[in-house]
């Protein structure tokens, strides 16, 4: 405000100017701040100097002046700064950027102003309308006026950064008011926009950030960094997806972005903020049920999603059977989900890529966040290592459920185990302006038992190093080294002599290098290559205790190398039409040392049809698969708020889970493609319409897709997949198809905001063969286990005051398909169930309502910590949503059971504070 007053003051007095006096002064300054210099001048002369402290902060002066006029002294002092000055009477008025002109142009007080017609030599005047002052638009003078200006437009460029974290803000839309000029920041937050000479109002918007409006005064090409505030301290709206403009302007289809900050008001199950659970409320992403691990994206199986945490694969991103995700919500920045167009740089999974990024720690100050929920406690700490250069984020989360269980009276519960924890560390170092290094380490662990004699455990461990380099203004590179590991184990200690310890271990190491080059305004090229080495121990068993007669045994290790090169071009043909054309070529080698059987060609693969076996030495290539993957998408912009996009995507997958369960399980082993198991393939065609209404207040999207799947894996009924050296005898490969329509309507602003997602989607698989034992449902298409035709989710947030808001989720899904008994039979005196064709029936529809209240701590400035309460009730209606049905033979009788995970309303309170 002070600045505004000074400026206004200037306009009022500006017509009283007259010539300056010529008195001479002498000064000597030795490492004195400019402010003190000014005070010194004021004390020794009659002049008063008007300025804003901000303008001269940090400027030190060491200088001597002998018998010089104030005029000259000031000129000298301000050399090399953006400051101009004017001496009027005994007042020295400093201004930022613009020269002070003694006379106003004649038309200054008329409202019409046509900057484009201004001759460049004309001085630029600006005034802040009353309305804009009320809105608090800050005026920024980027470059000084100089006498050689000739152009009518200039380029403003810079970097958008998060004021809170210092991170660059990608996908920020910057728009110049009243023009068609806009820019979107790249991944590193860089932007460049053409602005009219003189005054422009720019608006910068991105999800999770407060919208920034600035009045820019530009006299020349200039640089200005935008600092945006996270919408942290106020109750944020529930916003999902990329920045509002990206809804329409993005070239890729089927991309969703979830910012962690945006989901804090969504009601939670057991108080855990969960980015992946929120993802399932978006159309096209679903899970088979509350207790199902894994996600099904557009008809894909749970193993067809690539989860990347800071570039490293995470094989099982869930805790406790999928009720919680293993992604720490407090260290996560955002998740980008590609379910339609998958950029060419990603590969290896058919259905989707979940790119999860960890935030950078604050490079300025120590910060922390603590969350206390009914199930877990969570602590996050950020601290600079070298101030302004490097920082570290550490997040840890753990359950106290074991402690609760131990304190229960029930002996069965007392002996139960159920616990998990995860830990993440990210180090970020800005080596210099051009080089950025980040290192992430992550570990998660789960432990549980179902019967007291067996303990199950699984862990994810990963580490990644990313080196981002700005080779030139237009070219950037990324070098990544990542290592991931997934392990699970079963320890069985019964009373007999067969106690054992079973283990599975998967490791992958990837190195990749990518270049991103802006050829010109029309072409942005990305090229790169990657190579990933897999090493899998498919299962090993060891005896426990001296009495155990279990012989140690291990299925041969599996090794494979998956390599790819890719190239893609983001081609802007015109303002309306842009194309993103990508090609990825991937090669997979299954490597020895291994033994691969041969089977007689005209018989099903079984122990009975083995004809021999081939031995392969260490790293000898057993089998090679390769293929092109085409990733093309295009966008046509009917007008700035309405676009049509289409895409064709093909993908290949060389690693698969072995599971004969109806839903994924943490103890599903992963298997590489080998001589018998061919890579899975998928082709997806998608088309979408995208519309923004009322600015970006409402966003609409309607997308349709059709997908073909080949070589999907399935298993013979009751097939033994664990510790099976010749698992090909139990595996079936089939094909599939899925199609659907997804509608998403979002309201981004206002006290009531949120979104409505609906999808109609169908997924069918087919397992056909010339051999009866390899056929399912007579070789016809049957609905997949996660074929959920109708899915509706409504996520709403109502902001009552700045501190209180209410939120609600309404979720509806068609019940998933199940296989039901069509009769019983007797065998060995016992009754058993005869099942129908696979998935001929459905469990009842799923419906759930969650409600929550969010209370922000009050905003006293000096308060040590900012607190946040969330009180939520999951499944308010207490609806008993069946998760599965199963049939057992118990004492000779067949009995049917239905299981549900959450059958009653579950209230939780979570307390969260940050400092």
């Amino acid at each position: 405000m002070k600045r505004l007053i000074i400026l206004s003051f200037f306009f009022i007095i500006s017509n009283q100017l007259y010539s300056q006096d010529n008195q001479k002064y002498s000064f000597a300054f030795d490492t004195v701040s400019l402010k003190e210099v000014f005070f010194e001048i004021e004390s020794k002369t009659d002049y008063k100097i008007y300025f804003l402290e901000d303008w001269i902060k940090g400027k030190m002066i060491t200088r001597e002046f002998a018998n010089q006029s104030v005029d000259k002294i000031m000129e000298d002092l301000l050399k090399g700064t953006s400051l101009n000055f004017k001496i009027i009477d005994e007042k020295i008025i400093l201004t930022l950027g613009n020269m002070i002109i003694s006379n106003l142009p004649n038309n200054y007080f008329s409202e019409e102003k046509q900057p484009s017609e201004q001759k460049s030599q004309d001085p630029i005047f600006f005034k802040e309308s009353v309305e804009e002052i009320k809105r608090g638009i800050e005026t920024v003078i980027v470059s000084k006026q100089n006498a050689n200006d000739t152009k009518s437009t200039y380029k403003l460029s810079g970097k958008a950064i998060n004021r809170f974290t210092g991170d660059p803000i990608p996908n920020l839309t910057i728009q110049a008011k009243g023009t068609n000029n806009f820019a979107i920041t790249d991944f590193d937050g860089n932007y460049s926009i053409e602005l009219n000479r003189g005054e422009s109002i720019i608006t910068a918007q991105a999800m999770g950030m407060n919208t920034l409006v600035k009045r820019i005064i530009l006299y020349n090409d200039g640089e200005y960094n935008l600092e945006l505030n996270e919408s942290l301290e106020s109750l944020s709206e529930v916003l999902i997806n990329t920045s509002a403009q990206a809804n329409v302007r993005n070239t890729l289809t089927g991309v969703s972005r979830i910012e962690i900050q945006d989901i804090k008001n969504i009601p939670l199950v057991l108080g855990e903020r969960d980015i992946l659970k929120v993802a399932t409320t978006l159309p096209g992403i679903s899970s088979a049920g509350e207790g199902a691990i894994g996600y099904n994206v557009r008809g894909g199986k749970a193993d067809q999603n690539l989860f990347l945490l800071d570039g490293a694969s995470i094989y099982n991103p869930t805790h406790f059977f999928g009720i919680f995700s293993a992604i720490n919500p407090f260290t996560t920045d955002a998740a980008q989900v590609y379910k339609g167009s998958i950029p060419a740089k990603y590969g290896g999974r058919l259905a989707s890529v979940f790119e999860i990024s960890t935030k950078n720690g604050s490079k300025e100050k120590f910060k922390g966040e603590v969350s206390i929920g009914p199930v877990t406690g969570n602590v996050t700490i950020e601290t600079p290592i070298v101030e302004g250069k490097s920082s570290i984020v550490i997040g840890g989360r753990g359950t106290y459920s074991d402690w609760i269980l131990n304190n229960l009276d029930d002996p069965v519960l007392k002996n139960s185990k159920a616990s998990f924890y995860d830990f993440i560390l990210k180090y970020n170092h800005e080596i210099d302006e051009k080089n950025d290094l980040s290192v992430t380490g992550y570990h998660s662990s789960d432990l549980f038992n179902i019967t007291i004699d067996s303990v199950y455990s699984y862990t994810n461990t990963l580490a990644s190093v990313n080196w981002d380099r700005k080779i030139s203004e237009d070219t950037r590179s990324n070098l990544k080294l990542a290592h991931s590991r997934y392990q699970f184990g079963i320890e069985f200690e019964g009373r007999a002599n067969n106690n054992f310890d079973f283990g599975f271990d998967l490791q992958e190491t990837e190195i990749s290098y990518g270049l991103n080059h802006l050829i010109n305004e029309k072409h942005r090229l990305e090229v790169g290559l990657s190579s990933k080495l897999y090493s899998i121990n498919p299962g090993s068993i060891e005896p426990i205790g001296e009495e155990s007669i279990v012989t140690p045994f291990a299925v041969n290790n599996e090794n494979g190398l998956e390599s790819a090169i890719y190239v893609s071009d983001e081609w802007t043909l015109s303002e309306k039409l842009s194309v993103n054309a990508g090609l990825r070529f991937s090669v997979f080698n299954f490597l020895g040392e291994t033994t691969q059987r041969t089977y007689s060609p005209d018989a099903p693969l079984s122990d009975a049809t083995v004809t021999g076996a081939d031995e392969f030495g260490n790293n000898e290539i057993v089998e090679t698969y390769a293929g092109p993957e085409i990733r093309v998408s295009a966008r046509y912009l009917f007008n700035p708020s309405f676009s049509l996009r289409g895409a064709y995507n093909s993908t290949l997958q060389y690693i698969h889970t072995l599971s004969n369960n109806t839903t994924a399980s943490p103890i599903d082993t992963w298997k590489l493609s080998d001589r018998f198991i061919e890579p899975q393939r998928s082709e997806q065609y998608s088309l979408g319409l995208f519309k923004n209404l009322n600015g970006t207040k409402y966003e609409l999207s309607l997308e349709g897709y059709y997908k073909n799947l080949e070589n999907t894996l399935d298993y013979k009924v009751g097939g033994q997949l664990i510790l099976n050296e010749f698992v090909e005898t139990e595996v079936l490969q089939g094909d599939g198809k899925s199609y659907g329509v997804e509608l998403l309507m979002k309201k981004n602003e206002g006290n009531l905001n949120g979104y409505l997602g609906y999808s109609y989607s169908r997924t069918f698989y087919r397992l056909d063969s010339q051999f009866a034992e390899e056929r399912v449902n007579q070789g016809d298409f049957f609905p997949a286990n996660f074929d959920i035709p109708h899915e509706l989710s409504l996520v709403l947030n109502y902001k009552l005051t700045k501190r209180y808001s209410f939120s609600g989720n309404f979720i509806y899904q068609t019940g998933r398909p199940v296989t039901f008994p069509v009769g019983a039979f007797q065998e060995g005196g016992n009754n058993y169930v005869l099942f129908s064709d696979r998935n001929q029936f459905r469990i009842p529809d799923y419906f759930r309502v969650d409600l929550g209240i969010n209370i922000e701590g009050n905003h006293r400035i000096q308060k040590f910590a900012h607190s946040f309460w969330n009180i939520s009730v999951y499944n308010v209606l207490g609806r008993n949503n069946p998760y599965s049905t199963f049939f057992v033979t118990d004492n000779g009788q067949v009995r049917a059971f239905q299981s549900s995970i959450f059958t009653v309303p579950i209230p939780t309170i979570t307390y969260n504070f940050k400092f």
Partner: protein
């Protein structure tokens, strides 16, 4: 080529709502079974052993849950072939149960197969099966133990040794017989006697043995073991039966006849999968149910017609084992069936006979005179029949094999 695929690894069974603190709200509830889209399918059970006997084949059909049990497949023509030539004919001795006309024992190195023609003229054939290795039960024992859910009980363990270098697949069946002693047995009983008074009784000695009885159960669960993953073909302390301590069948003297079959891998595969498909699942992941193929197919439509069952040959070894409660738990009272005494009044408010009705319906047994008769009480203290008469739950005939 040693395969471990048959190793039984994941007994993900659970019988209670999930035993985890924060999932106590999750639950498994029983639902009604109704048959939809019923399909009638033929079911074969045929195990030809190396015992010299009339070999057995059972043939039935699937049934609706609403029905009592399977419908038997009668009047079928059943044959066993040896090395592809007709070898033994079977005759139906009761509905669905067929016995070989002549007793025979399966021989080593001969392929046996099954051929059946049903009365509607449809033909079924099995894949051939040969006798696997031989194994002898060497000893049996009983030990106090706990099951996977922490329940205390006893385990009946077996030790066997087989002759196969690679190892064998084992299937166990048992027949358990136990002594029942009625806890509230008296030598006398109430006999309705209107001469004593209206609705009254005289007390007379019981005529039948009602104190000590015996009862026998056949195993129906699939019990499998293997020695392929072990260094030698030896079964060591394998638990064939677990009995909870509160089960009254072990309250006095208990006997088990264990039959051990060495079975071919096809049969083991089949039973292993059958067991997996019929056991209770992990709450969170359900094994994909489906139709389990055996080794018997329809001749007329091998692709379309679904057939249930497996034909196999096996070698047998059996052993009987006894134990007493007191030998295992000398300082612990045996479990008892719950019994409550009562003294119902002789007549009802409307004047009808109350106790007499229960006596005639054979629902109660006399225990003792009611000396301190309270309000609404009769003169006789009685107990439910199973507490005072063991024939309610067993037979008073001592089995031939029984040894004290």
């Amino acid at each position: 080529m040693k395969s471990l695929k048959k190793y039984e690894l994941i007994p993900l069974k659970m019988l209670l709502c999930l035993s985890l603190a924060f999932s106590l709200m999750s639950c498994v509830e029983e639902i009604e079974l109704r048959t939809q889209d019923f399909e009638s399918i033929i079911v074969f059970e045929a195990n030809i052993t190396n015992e010299f006997k009339q070999q057995e084949v059972f043939i039935s059909r699937t049934f609706r849950f609403e029905d009592d049990g399977p419908s038997k497949e009668t009047n079928a023509d059943v044959r066993v072939l040896s090395n592809g030539s007709p070898f033994a004919d079977f005759i139906e001795i009761e509905p669905g149960r067929y016995l070989s006309r002549q007793p025979f024992a399966a021989q080593e190195n001969i392929s046996y197969s099954l051929e059946v023609t049903t009365r509607d003229g449809r033909n079924y054939i099995s894949e051939p099966s040969q006798l696997p290795g031989v194994a002898e039960i060497e000893s049996m024992s009983v030990e106090p133990s706990q099951d996977g859910f922490g329940n205390t009980g006893v385990s009946i363990l077996v030790n066997s040794t087989g002759n196969s270098a690679q190892g064998n697949f084992y299937k166990f069946e048992y027949s358990e017989t136990y002594k029942i002693i009625a806890p509230f047995w008296r030598s006398d009983n109430l006999v309705p006697d209107s001469q004593v008074g209206p609705c009254d009784f005289s007390i007379q000695p019981r005529e039948e043995e009602e104190r000590v009885c015996f009862s026998t159960n056949e195993s129906i669960d699939i019990i499998l073991a293997e020695t392929l993953s072990l260094p030698e073909d030896k079964i060591n302390n394998f638990e064939t039966r677990f009995i909870r301590l509160d089960n009254t069948i072990i309250a006095h003297r208990y006997s088990i006849l264990l039959k051990q079959f060495v079975i071919p891998s096809t049969a083991n595969d089949y039973f292993q999968k059958r067991r997996e498909l019929s056991s209770q699942d992990n709450l969170f992941s359900q094994a994909q149910p489906g139709f389990l193929e055996g080794n018997i197919t329809s001749v007329e439509s091998p692709e379309e017609e679904r057939v249930i069952g497996v034909f196999y040959t096996s070698t047998v070894s059996e052993n009987r084992f006894y134990f007493n409660w007191v030998d295992l738990f000398p300082n612990q009272d045996p479990p008892e069936i719950p019994c409550r005494t009562s003294a119902p009044p002789l007549t009802n408010i409307d004047g009808s006979c109350l106790l007499e009705e229960s006596v005639i319906a054979n629902r109660v047994r006399y225990w003792e005179p009611n000396l301190n008769q309270g309000e609404n009480e009769g003169p006789y203290v009685v107990v439910p029949r199973e507490c005072g008469d063991c024939t309610a739950i067993g037979s008073n005939i001592v089995p031939d094999f029984w040894e004290e």
